[in-house]
């Protein structure tokens, strides 16, 4: 049992995916990528073996943030961008809970950007699922902080002007201890990433590329089409050489002159130069370089999988430790003594 899960009560009997389905009708648009993520999460949850009542989903505002209503666990659908803050209060006061945050690119990176980066640096025991569809869905199609430059939308008829965030780069820069990326339609990969995130002590950020078939359809087709994906997607696996392409003919290597990463065609002569993925590396440098590898426009050379998975003290644990240390140092709470203080005086009844 990992530290992340050790304090959470176990389910008495084995649960199934159906146990995690709430009685609420799912109201996403037909064909939305969110359905696949929901099914994957519901299918994966029983695996954790946790008591269902000790699992909480907290969300902000946006299409993805309706997620908690569909999970038969405790849940809160809060306000725009604030889910990480609310979940921080819950997780740091209740270490017996498994707390999940569901958010989107607008919710997490625009209005809630501040809370996201601070949750990551604190390393609160939260699992954050960031559904990135590179568009605002619920407000009907404005560009988002992950939209490509020049995006034509209702609010940007002449094209958007601002450079997008790369959520993985951002998380790494915010001192995140666990950062991963996966794709809504790849259930096997999605589930494997969720598994590792759940196991991680501290904050885990999982960026999920998710298709909005109404306002940004096909945003990730380059990564989904069988033919294209072979050349476009780089699957990161800890301890394995970073190779991809038909017959693994491509590899990622470090340019000795610039220190940057680049893609090479692997030959017996240069095979030794292919990087081996080390998600546990103390330094985030290589993980960051990997996050910059993809072409932001074509998505070619997009790494998916766990970029970084390192250990740092968990905020909730440190907080609880301070409470224990305070009792050791100052003794157990004595309200009478506290109220009286050290500078009191007594008035005796006057006769």
């Amino acid at each position: 049992m990992t530290e992340a899960l050790s304090l959470i009560p176990r389910a008495e009997a084995a649960l199934a995916a159906r146990d995690f389905k709430s009685d609420q009708e799912v109201r996403w648009c037909p064909g939305c990528g969110d359905y696949a993520v929901l099914a994957a999460v519901q299918g994966f949850m029983p695996e954790l073996g946790l008591a269902r009542e000790n699992i909480v989903f907290v969300s902000g505002i946006g299409c993805s943030s309706r997620f908690p209503y569909y999970m038969n666990t405790y849940g809160m659908h809060s306000i725009h961008g604030r889910a990480p803050a609310i979940a921080t209060g819950l997780a740091s006061s209740r270490r017996d809970l498994s707390v999940w945050v569901v958010t989107g690119d607008g919710d997490a990176l625009s209005i809630g950007g501040n809370h996201l980066i601070h949750a990551l640096r604190r390393n609160v025991n939260l699992k954050i699922l960031l559904f990135n569809n590179r568009i605002y869905g619920l407000t009907k199609g404005q560009y988002s902080p992950t939209s490509e430059v020049g995006k034509i939308t209702k609010s940007t008829p002449m094209g958007s002007l601002d450079a997008p965030f790369n959520p993985v780069s951002l998380a790494l820069g915010a001192e995140a201890t666990f950062v991963a990326r996966t794709i809504d339609s790849d259930r096997k990969h999605l589930t494997e990433v969720l598994r590792q995130a759940a196991d991680h002590p501290g904050t885990a950020l999982v960026e999920i590329y998710q298709n909005c078939n109404i306002f940004n359809d096909g945003a990730f087709d380059a990564l989904k089409d069988q033919e294209q994906a072979r050349e476009a997607v780089i699957r990161l696996e800890h301890g394995r050489p970073i190779r991809f392409g038909t017959d693994d003919t491509k590899g990622v290597t470090r340019n000795p002159d610039t220190g940057d990463l680049e893609v090479i065609t692997v030959t017996p002569d240069n095979e030794h130069r292919v990087l081996t993925h080390d998600a546990h590396a103390t330094s985030p440098t290589t993980a960051f370089a990997l996050s910059r590898l993809a072409d932001p426009d074509t998505l070619h050379h997009t790494p998916i999988g766990v970029f970084r998975d390192t250990t740092r003290p968990v905020y909730d644990t440190l907080m609880a430790d301070q409470l224990e240390a305070a009792v050791e140092q100052h003794g157990k709470a004595d309200l009478g003594a506290l109220l009286t203080g050290t500078d009191s005086w007594t008035v005796t009844p006057s006769r």
């Binding site: 009560p9 709430s22 609420q24 008591a51 269902r52 009542e53 699992i55 909480v56 907290v58 908690p68 209503y69 999970m71 038969n72 666990t73 405790y74 849940g75 809160m76 659908h77 809060s78 306000i79 604030r82 803050a85 609310i86 979940a87 921080t88 209060g89 819950l90 997780a91 740091s92 006061s93 209740r94 017996d96 809970l97 501040n114 809370h115 601070h118 907080m319 301070q322 409470l323 240390a325 305070a326 009792v327 140092q329 003794g331 157990k332 709470a333 309200l335 009478g336 506290l338 109220l339 009286t340 203080g341 500078d343 009191s344 005086w345 007594t346 008035v347 005796t348 009844p349 006057s350």
Partner: protein, 621 residues
């Protein structure tokens, strides 16, 4: 007295210590207050300092002061005007002289009355020599020189030695007013435990100040203010500031509710001291979370409340503005939450270190949609303790966010407090839901998160970890009972009215009216920290034989049930407030009463004398 000094008995004294921000005036005032409290006088204090940590030295904006009123009887305010002004430099004299009545004593540090410091604040000639202070009894004391001289054996630099001049002044004043000194010496030893040299230097300066008073002939009179024996019922007492009382109120509320306390907060003047204080008491199971911003502060507190903690956020007006959306969410979620607003001058950044009561309407209405939130306002520094317990009672009983509206004056001011025994405190225990609360038509037992208690209209509090009660709540309108998302128009109308009815139905004590003769035709109605000045003004009027009735609101939402009847009893209602008439607006709108507003927004509490004049005019009108 050794030199045959005359000892004069007086019933009350107001002292103001004034100096540069770096002169340690707040510490000096605090120590004099502690000495006075332990002596048994009743007292009330008014610290007054600039927002800048160290404003340019010797300038008017850099002046920091501390006023203390103490007496042999019970008193209510820090006093309108000082009997004694201690001015550590020309700026302090200039900034405060207008408040000092003729005939009062002024003690000045003559060392600072040199050309440059005087020129800096616009004194062309020395006020100590040009006759402009002839109406006062001025004691020129070379405080700096005397302090440096007293410390010459300590091997300190002149600059280091000069720093103890506030303790010299404290020693002098302690002699003048016969204050006990042991605790100050003990305090200095503790404060400088890691620098015993500095501790000793301060103690030597303190004693030198005392001895100076005793030996010099300039101080021909010393004063005795007898303990206020009649003002205090038997009990254990301590001196306490509003923010400390409020912090203790939070710790006590959590203990009485048997819930862990969770504070989510972002530093802001004048509320930060609550965060500081609570973070010192982790052995009470108190979790303090210094958030990345105001919004995260309340967000974390609300998250903790969802998990079954007593969630609290502390802030001031600008912070409330940022928290508004989350307060609305708490209204919709119907979870207990305390929002502590230590009001300061506004709008925007306003006057961070000065007091005001101008957040009443923000607390009352400052949210989107119909989002009623109960409001409790403490009336004195010590009352911050009880008001916080009362706010917690409402939050826990009715599952609602509740405002505690304190202000900068209460927060930093202090007064004696009869320390309650923990057994005297109210029982605030509440029940979490543990089992299904509804049976469907087919006989299935289910949990409905919005099925209400028929009496209080409170919904059940089912915390994560409770098997079988898994449920989802959120800010979207929900169906009554089930809590499921509902956009049904009739349901929304019902829910809006039900949330309002829940708050309107909160049981609050009736408003007590103080009308000793029963003949008053004018009622003065206040709320919050104006209690002291209003009551002092009312006493003045009654002493002159004028009949006036007084009532003071602690509950601003809902109002006490008898408020309408009370208002109807009087021909005139005067509402003094440190804003532009916010309570008066509510009263006029709610009860169609022609309430007269008297307002002041200068960052300072009302002065009793001026207020008495205003009330007299209203009565005579």
């Amino acid at each position: 007295m050794a030199n045959g000094t005359e000892v004069r008995r007086v019933d009350r004294v107001v002292i103001r210590f004034a100096g540069d921000s770096g002169d340690g005036m707040q510490l000096t005032g605090d120590r004099f207050t502690s000495e006075t409290a332990s002596f048994g006088n009743d007292l009330s204090t008014l610290p007054n300092f600039p927002a800048e940590i160290r404003a340019p030295a010797g300038t008017l904006p850099g002046v920091s002061s501390f006023q203390l009123h103490f007496a042999d009887h019970d008193i209510l305010t820090p006093g309108d005007a000082p009997n004694v002004l201690v001015a550590m430099n020309p700026a302090a004299l200039k900034a405060n002289i207008a408040d000092v009545p003729r005939g009062a004593e002024i003690i000045v540090n003559t060392d600072e009355f040199t050309k440059r410091p005087m020129a800096k604040v616009g004194y062309a000639t020395s006020p100590l020599e040009d006759g402009s202070l002839d109406a006062y009894r001025v004691h020129g004391v070379p405080l700096t020189t005397l302090t440096v001289e007293a410390l010459k054996d300590f091997g300190l630099s002149r600059k280091e030695a000069e720093r103890s001049k506030n303790m010299f002044a404290l020693g002098l004043l302690s002699w003048m007013y016969h204050r006990p000194t042991e605790n100050t010496e003990k305090f200095l030893r503790q404060k400088f435990a890691k620098k015993p040299d500095i501790a000793e230097a301060n103690i030597v300066a303190f004693r030198a100040g005392w001895n100076f008073g005793e030996t010099t002939e300039d101080f021909a009179v010393s004063y005795e203010v007898a303990p206020a024996t009649k003002a205090f019922p038997a009990g254990v007492y301590r001196n306490i500031s509003g923010n400390l009382a409020l912090s203790y109120g939070l710790i006590a509320a959590a203990r009485q509710a048997d819930l862990p306390l969770y504070l989510g907060s972002y530093p802001i003047t004048p509320a930060s001291d609550i965060l500081h204080e609570l973070s010192r008491h982790k052995n009470f199971g108190v979790r303090t979370f210094q958030a990345e911003d105001e919004i995260a502060g309340i967000g974390a507190a609300l998250g903790a409340a969802f998990g079954g903690a007593l969630g609290v956020t502390t802030t001031s007006g600008p912070g409330v503005a940022l928290k508004s959306e989350t307060i609305g969410l708490a209204v919709s979620l119907e979870l207990p939450l305390l929002i502590v607003d230590i009001q300061r001058g506004g709008p925007s950044t306003g006057l961070p270190t000065k007091t005001e009561q101008a957040d009443l309407l923000q607390a009352m209405y400052g949210r989107n949609g119909e989002a009623p939130v109960p409001i409790v306002a403490p009336r004195t520094a010590a009352d911050c303790f009880d008001a916080t317990l009362e706010a917690a009672r409402i939050a826990l009983t009715y599952r609602t966010p509740v405002f505690v509206l304190s202000d900068g004056y209460l927060a930093n001011g202090s007064e004696p407090w009869r320390v309650p025994h923990p057994d005297e405190l109210p029982d605030l225990r509440t029940r979490f839901a543990t089992a299904p609360n509804h049976t469907l038509a087919d006989g299935t037992e289910v949990f409905w998160p919005y099925k209400r208690d028929p009496q209080t209209l409170a919904r059940p509090w089912a915390v994560p970890g409770t098997p079988g009660l898994e449920h989802r709540i959120g800010g979207i309108e929900k169906q009554d009972g089930t809590g499921n998302i509902s956009y049904d128009p009739a349901n929304h109308d019902h829910m809006v009215r039900t949330r309002q009815a829940k708050i309107d139905g909160i049981a609050v004590p009736d408003l007590e009216v103080d009308d000793p003769t029963g003949t008053a035709r004018t009622l003065v109605l206040g709320w919050g920290s104006t209690y002291g000045p209003i009551t002092a003004a009312v006493r003045r009027l009654r002493a002159q034989g004028t009949a006036i009735a007084q009532a003071h609101l602690r509950h601003l939402n809902p109002f006490p049930a008898n408020l309408e009847e009370v208002l109807a009893r009087y021909e005139r209602v005067v509402v003094p407030e440190m804003n532009l008439g916010q309570l008066a607006t509510l009263i006029r709108a709610r009860y169609l009463v022609d309430a007269r507003s008297h307002t002041q927004v200068n960052g300072m509490p009302f002065k009793a004398e001026q207020l008495a004049e205003v009330l007299q005019e209203a009565i005579d009108d």
